[in-house]
Structures are given as C-alpha cells and as structure tokens.
C-alpha cells in the first residue's frame, strides 16, 4: 500500500468521523433536547452551528469525491445519502437564525402593547442598537471595560459552618446606581457566582451604569438524598468542580434566606457600595431564575416576613429559563429540598411563582427569557405562567429565544445572549422611567 493510499484512508476516516459527530449532535439537538446530553448540546450548539457547517460540508464533499465517484447505482445512492445528511444538518444549523425576526417582532409587540409610545420614544443611544449582529457574533460582544471596576470575593455572611461571598461590579462615578442582584443557576444543588453566572452579562450592565452584585447563596448536598444512590455521589463529584466547598447543605428555604440576608447587608452598606436600593432588579438563571422569581414576588409577602431588606424596592424581576410552578412529584428529591417552616404542601406553594403571583399584594413587572427548545425547564409551562400573570393584570413580558436550549446565554456573544440583552436593557430603562 503506497503512502498516497494511506493518506487517503486517514483523510476519509477523519471526514467520516466529522460527519458522524455532527450528525449525532444535530439529531440530539433536534430530537432529544429533553435528555441530559440534549441539554448539554442545546447550550452551545445553536450558537456555533453556522460557523461549523463548513467543516461537515467539506467532509461530505471529500467523502463523495473519494468514496462514491464510480457511476454505479450503489455509489449514486451513497453520494445522495451524504448530500441529504449534509443538507439536513445545514438546514438545522440555520433554522434558529431564520426565526430571529419573527421572535424579535413578537418581543417588540409585547413591549409596545405594555408601554405604548413610551417604548417607541425611549432614548436608546446608549443601548445595543440591534437585537442581533453577525459582526458581534464573530468578533465578540463590545463591553467598555473602562467604565467600571470589579471587586471579587467580598464576604457577606459567615454562619459558623460556611462563608458566603459576592462579586461587586461598580460603574465609574459616585452613584447611587440602580442595583442588579444576580443569582446563579445549578438546579439548587451546584453552581457558583462569577464563572458560573455569565460574567459578560454582569460586565455589560456595569458598563451601562448598573451596580451588579453576583453572589453565592449555598447549595443542597445531593448525597443527603439516599434514594439517589451512586448517581447522587457521582453527581456530587462532578458538581464539586463548579461549586464552592460548602460544609453544610442548604434547602431552598435556607438558600433564599441567605439571599435575603444579602439584601439586608446591602441595605446597611448601600452608601459604601453606591447602591440605590429603591431601584433594584433581581436577575437569575435556571434555579437562580426560580430564586429570582420568589424574591421578586415574595419580598413583600407575609410568607417571607423579615426575610429581606425592608427598604429595598424591586423595580422588576428578570428570570432566565425559570421553573415557575413547582409541583409535588413522585421523586423524593424536591420534597427534601423544600423542607422548611411550613407543611410540605404549603412549602410547594410558597416557592412557586404561579402561587405567589396571585397571592402577593406587590407584584413588580416581570421579564421571562427562555429558549423554545429548553429541555430542562418546561417552555409551554412558562408561557402559561405569562398568560396567567397577564390575566391577573400583571406586567409579564416573555422573550423567546428561537430554538435556544437551556442556559442558551452561557456563550454570550451568540444570538441568545444578544437578543436577551437587547430587550432586558430596554425593559429595565422603561421601568426606571425611560
């Protein structure tokens, strides 16, 4: 066998591997988005698929060129199969981008219906000029790093077992600045501030004059659920890579109490941190979105009396892909997480946005941002929540990220991060009075 033949086989092996890999990713992304692997693929794939299509198109081309060039029936079928596979992957890669204008129009309509001419007359010279820019997708999200400073790992609570820290993103100047409290996700059992909570988002809003606080608030130790067995132990091992080392385990109620304690610390130190607590936005992702929903809707609710700063006024809640309706399931997992001061059934109500939105006297405006291919948190359920909130005459804007998976904004410069930022900054400006 000569060297040319060997090289040809190596090249073909490489091309077939490429094609199989991308076909696998595409199939998982399209058809298995509610599985664990589908969730992982859905985070990154839609944002990067168009840039990678050249790789599998070239692979397909080389395969057709070297494997199916004889004019036999079998070769023609083989070549056609490769072409169909490549076309399928290409179409899937561009479907989200074809839907952008439709989803943007939907968000525009909602904002216009809610705010009317205040929205159309809003001064946007300091904001992102377009919902999506190919240029920014390739070269990165422009953030003016000179307009703010960051101080990391500031202690706000030591409960004897664990210490909790936050990062402080301070805009230049004396302020006081509107506040963003950013709550990380991780299914209540893992996660961290900073790298676990979309740093570019925090930086962007700090550069636009918001003082951002990104905090740790504790997680539940899954090894405390014996029913989870070895899976729980394996999960704990993986989660330890992206979670601070906590000595204690924290239920959802305790996690919320930690967040509440932070608001009290902020109240005492508001001058030091240049924070205008009268203009506070609560932003959270996934489980952090759930926490944000409870803070937004519950901070003046008697169920949470004494939990939060008494002078804090929440201007709006921004919830990324949040679970808005916790229902008792057959799994013992949530039962253990929700143990608290009330009987379990009432705890489920207390920690569900769908209950609080009806039973709280103070309901700040809400913006929910979610991808319609979210395999972890039910997208239709959150659309139902929006309809429910609107039927109660509450302001609830829903921005759908086309074909976006769970945690779509981790790769921040792609279309999910761009569209969400575009509407969030307008929503916040409108709630601050334009």
């Amino acid at each position: 066998m000569n060297i040319h033949k060997i090289l040809r086989y190596i090249l073909l092996f490489f091309c077939y591997s490429n094609l199989v890999l991308f076909l696998f990713l595409t199939i998982v992304y399209v058809f298995f988005d509610n599985t664990l692997i589908g969730f992982v693929v859905g985070i990154i794939y839609p944002g990067i698929a168009p840039l990678l299509c050249l790789v599998y198109l070239v692979s397909g081309l080389i395969i057709v060129r070297f494997s199916f060039m004889k004019d036999t029936r079998l070769d023609r079928i083989g070549a056609l199969t490769i072409i169909v596979i490549c076309a399928f992957m290409l179409i899937v890669a561009f479907i989200p981008y074809m839907q952008i204008s439709y989803r943007v129009r939907d968000a525009e309509n909602q904002l216009f219906q809610t705010y009317g001419t205040t929205y159309t007359n809003l001064t946007t010279s300091n904001m992102r000029p377009v919902p999506y820019s190919i240029y920014d997708n390739i070269f990165g999200f422009p953030i003016d790093e000179a307009k703010f400073s960051v101080q990391t790992d500031i202690l706000y609570l030591n409960n004897g077992n664990d210490s909790f820290y936050f990062d402080w993103y301070k805009p230049n100047g004396d302020g006081p600045f509107p506040v963003i409290i950013a709550i990380h996700g991780g299914g209540w059992v893992m996660g961290n501030k900073a790298g676990g909570n979309v740093i570019p988002f925090n930086k962007y809003f700090a550069s636009k004059g918001y003082v951002v606080f990104d905090l740790q608030y504790g997680v539940y130790d899954v090894t405390k659920v014996p029913e989870m067995g070895d899976f729980g132990k394996a999960f704990a091992m993986i989660s330890s890579l992206i979670t601070p080392k906590y000595n204690s385990s924290y239920t959802i109620q305790q996690q919320l109490e930690n967040i509440g304690y932070f608001t009290k610390v902020l109240e005492v130190n508001r001058t030091k941190y240049h924070a205008d607590l009268n203009k506070t936005f609560i932003v959270g992702r996934s489980a952090g979105g759930h926490m944000a929903s409870i803070v937004t809707l519950g901070y003046k609710n008697p169920l949470f009396a004494g939990n939060f700063s008494s002078i804090m006024n929440i201007t709006a809640g921004i919830w990324f892909y949040p679970p808005t309706n916790l229902t008792k399931s057959k799994s013992p997992f949530f039962d253990k997480l929700l143990v608290g001061s009330l009987p379990l059934d009432l705890q489920y109500n207390k920690f569900s946005a769908s209950f609080l939105v009806k039973n709280s006297t103070v309901v700040p405006p809400i913006m929910i941002v979610q991808g319609d291919k979210d395999g972890v948190v039910d997208y239709p359920a959150n659309l139902e929540f929006q309809e429910y909130a609107k039927s109660l005459n509450k302001t609830c804007i829903f921005v759908t990220i086309p074909w976006g998976g769970h945690a779509f904004d981790i790769n921040f410069q792609t279309y999910g991060g761009q569209i969400s930022t575009y509407y969030i900054e307008r929503f916040m400006a409108l709630e601050l009075g334009g």
């Binding site: 990678l52 190919i134 570019p200």
Partner: protein, 149 residues
C-alpha cells in the same frame, strides 16, 4: 443541465473570480472599519461575510473541476485550493473556540481580550487566503494549459 454549462465557461469564471476577489477585499475593509463601532458599517460587514463565504466555497469547487491536474501550474493551483479549504475549516473551528473562550473565563477582574484578538486574527487569515487564491487564479487564467476550458 444546459444551464449549468455556463459554469464551465471561461468568461463566466473570469467574472466570478473578479466578483469573489472584490467581495473578499470589501469584507476585509468593512470589517476593519467595523472595529470603530459604527453600526451601519458593521451591518454591511456582516452581510459581506455572509456573501463572501459561499462565494469562496463555490469558487473552490469551480477550481477543483476546472484546473488541469496534468499541468504543473494547474497542480499548484489545486494544492493552493486544498490549502485554502483547510485554512477556512480550521479558522471557522477556532473562531468558535475564540467565542467560547470569551464567554467561559472565570475571573471577573480579567479582560477577555485574547478571544477577540484571536477572532480578528483568524478572520483576517481566511479572507487573505481567499483573496490570494482568487488573484492567483485570475493571473494564471490566460495560461491555457493550466485550465480545462
């Protein structure tokens, strides 16, 4: 099939080369200007990128079918064609990594400029390779034996 014969026409190939080289030069020019942050320029730059990539890919396919493998210059053009294709694939893959790098950094106090520099660098590489390939083809087009027209 009759209509496809135009693709094998030398005159068409010449104009296609010109179109590709002009688009690629404009892509480079407008993307460089886009660094100043002007929205209109960035929009044009984005449209040019979306136009330039398929133009270059189709050019590469045309060169594969029209360059003469039995001639020394033709073979060199084909090698350059392969090289451009590989460079494009590698650059696009690394552009993805550069984007991910900009998002997945763990220290808020650091500036993720490396990812952005890498993106610009990779972008310039594939556009320049595309321009060189188009120009080489344009210059060698009068050499009859290098092409199969």
């Amino acid at each position: 099939m009759e209509k496809l014969k135009i693709l094998k026409n030398k005159q068409f190939f010449k104009y296609y080369l010109l179109l590709t080289v002009v688009t690629l030069i404009l892509t480079l020019f407008f993307n460089a200007l886009g660094l100043m942050g002007e929205l209109q320029i960035q929009t044009v730059a984005g449209i040019l990128i979306v136009t330039a990539v398929p133009l270059l890919v189709i050019l590469i396919l045309l060169i594969f079918s029209r360059a003469n493998r039995n001639d020394d210059i033709g073979r060199k053009i084909i090698r350059m064609n392969y090289l451009t294709l590989i460079i494009m694939c590698v650059c696009f893959s690394f552009l993805v990594l550069a984007g991910l790098f900009s998002s997945f950094y763990f220290d808020p106090a650091s500036m993720p400029l490396f990812g952005q520099f890498l993106s610009v660098f990779l972008f310039v590489i594939w556009v320049v390779f595309g321009i060189c390939l188009s120009l080489v083809c344009y210059i060698t087009l009068p050499i009859e034996r290098a092409w199969l027209f």
